[in-house]
């Protein structure tokens, strides 16, 4: 499978490794949608398990997004990962799985990452007017949007 993907996408498949018996692919941002689509349509990874991100603020490309796909036929999981900067957009996979909608909204809400082609990219867990994206590493554990708290909850501070 990796060979075939490398033949098609060449250099854009940066890594194909296994850690603790779990396979993962590191791909370039430009091909992640195509790779996911190929895995789904050609290699039988028909189920979407999860989408989320990790923030590495010290790195040059600070955000790492991962998709976990599952194949019911092979009973196998694969993780696709890609790195990018804050300003970059990642293609949405809502065209492949409708269920990616809320998962991508959550990533947007928690990390402030934008998805190209998402039908309705709004916050999902935090209030719509909230400023800041809580799961970024530079967002403090007790940090709050004081202005929002004062305006909407009528209290001086949430802490």
């Amino acid at each position: 499978m990796v060979e075939e993907l490398k033949q098609v996408h060449g250099e854009a498949i940066l890594k194909a490794e296994s850690y603790l018996g779990q396979n993962y692919l590191v791909v370039d941002r430009s091909v992640c949608h195509q790779v996911i689509e190929r895995l789904r349509n050609q290699f039988g990874y028909t189920s979407l398990t999860d989408i989320s991100a990790v923030h590495y603020p010290k790195d040059e490309l600070p955000f790492e997004m991962f998709w976990i796909l599952y194949s019911m036929a092979k009973e196998d999981r694969v993780r696709i990962k890609t790195r990018f900067a804050e300003a970059d957009e990642v293609p949405s996979i809502t065209d492949l799985w409708v269920g990616a909608n809320w998962l991508e909204r959550e990533v947007y809400d928690m990390f402030g990452l934008r998805f190209a082609g998402h039908p309705d990219l709004r916050r999902i867990l935090m209030p719509d007017e909230w400023t800041g994206h809580p799961l970024r590493k530079d967002y403090g554990a007790e940090q709050q949007d004081q202005a929002w708290v004062q305006k909407n909850l009528g209290i001086e501070s949430g802490q």
């Binding site: 850690y19 603790l20 189920s47 999860d50 019911m72 867990l125 935090m126």
Partner: protein, 383 residues
């Protein structure tokens, strides 16, 4: 006498100008509504009784648990995971411990694994009983709630005997179980299983053949297997639509491969089938518990793990079959005693997304039935 009406003539109103004339009515349901099982807000677009569309507004119970994880040690975060799906705390605990054990590459002793299976399956029974009672209550049958809660009590008593807590019990530790089975554990669990088996038939007698129940659930909230996969749905909802998939069989963890059990599936993918699937799952859980009790090996229940847990840098994903569906933990370690990132794949959150699809075109009363049949817990939806 003047030929005039004694009342002021009504102003002529163009049709469609008052809310009575409009064909679509927007109705807010929740967040404080008894049948949303927590703080879920649903904005319904109604045409009379018919649902034209709806939108779920969630986040009222968001506590930022994933953020909290990054500011605690691996061990300290253990009790927090119980607060995701607080009706099945044992399952949450199991998933988290398995994920961290994967990073640590620790093998739990066999007795610990069997004990974990017994407690998690008891937890599934308790969770399904809570679902059954409240779901049937939402649809209008009051009695089964008391039956289900009466029997759930006996399971919670076992948890209380095992670790002192009934709901958020932090039953497992990284590396195994904190406690061995208490004296008389086997007898008590056996008794609960023996008592429960006929009681599940009793629930079925009360509900399955009931005419009102059938009318309210058959054909309601129908979703096909393909749609379930498109919506990333897992658990009893997926199986109710005829897809025979269960993490316990597909990727066995915690010695589930040692036990014989069936995965019940439905055919129609409606509320009634999902009800039958969950009822049968309860019977299968009892079957697993009996086998685990019979084969419960001797030995330690916890592996030797260091006091300060520092998994080597790396990441792992570990999934279990929670009562609501596939509960996964994606954990990233940077080699320190604190998690770098803990991502939870919450089954309730993902399953809830299909509410719109399932409720559209149905009646407003069916929305209540569908929220019940999705078996969501808002603690897990919002985290």
């Amino acid at each position: 006498m003047k030929d005039e009406p004694f009342y002021e003539p009504l102003e002529e109103v163009e049709p469609g100008h008052t809310f009575l004339d409009s064909t679509e009515l927007t109705l807010n349901m929740g967040p404080q509504h008894p049948s949303t099982h927590g703080v879920l807000r649903v904005v319904l677009k109604l045409d009379g009784e018919k649902v034209n569309g709806l939108e779920c507004i969630i986040g009222y119970l968001h506590r930022g648990i994933e953020k909290i994880a990054e500011n605690r040690t691996w061990v300290q975060f253990g009790p927090f995971v119980d607060r995701f799906d607080y009706t099945a705390a044992v399952s949450n605990s199991l998933g988290y411990c398995l994920a961290v054990e994967k990073l640590l590459q620790v093998e739990v002793p066999k007795r610990g694994q069997y004990l974990r299976v017994i407690l998690t399956e008891l937890c599934r029974l308790a969770s399904h009983q809570l679902w059954l009672g409240t779901h049937v209550l939402d649809i209008g049958a009051v009695t089964p709630l008391f039956y289900a809660f009466r029997d759930r009590e006996t399971i919670l008593n076992i948890f209380e005997g095992y670790c002192g807590a009934r709901l958020t019990n932090h039953a497992f530790r990284i590396g195994g179980c904190r406690w061995d089975a208490y004296e008389g554990f086997s007898q008590e669990v056996t008794k609960v299983c023996n008592d429960l088996m006929p009681k599940i038939d009793e629930y079925a007698d009360l509900i399955t053949g009931n005419r009102i129940w059938k009318q309210r659930t058959k054909g309601v909230g129908r979703i096909s297997g393909e749609d379930c996969i498109a919506y990333a749905i897992t658990g009893p909802v997926l199986r109710g639509s005829g897809v025979r998939w269960d993490v316990r069989k597909a990727q066995p963890y915690c010695s589930y491969g040692d036990f014989e059990f069936d995965i019940p599936i439905g055919a129609a993918g409606d509320t009634f089938d999902r009800y039958l699937v969950r009822l049968e799952e309860m019977r299968q859980s009892i079957r697993i518990i009996r086998q685990a009790l019979e084969g419960l090996p001797e030995g330690p229940v916890i592996a030797r793990v260091p006091k300060v847990i520092k998994p080597p840098a790396g990441e792992a994903y570990c999934a279990i079959e929670a009562p609501k569906g596939e509960l996964g933990y994606f954990v990233v370690s940077d080699g320190t005693a604190q998690p770098y990132r803990v991502r939870v794949r919450p089954p309730s959150f993902i399953n809830l997304q299909a509410l719109e699809k399932m409720a559209k075109g149905g009646l407003v009363a069916d929305v209540v039935a569908i929220i019940g049949t999705l078996d969501i817990v808002l603690g897990e939806v919002d985290r």
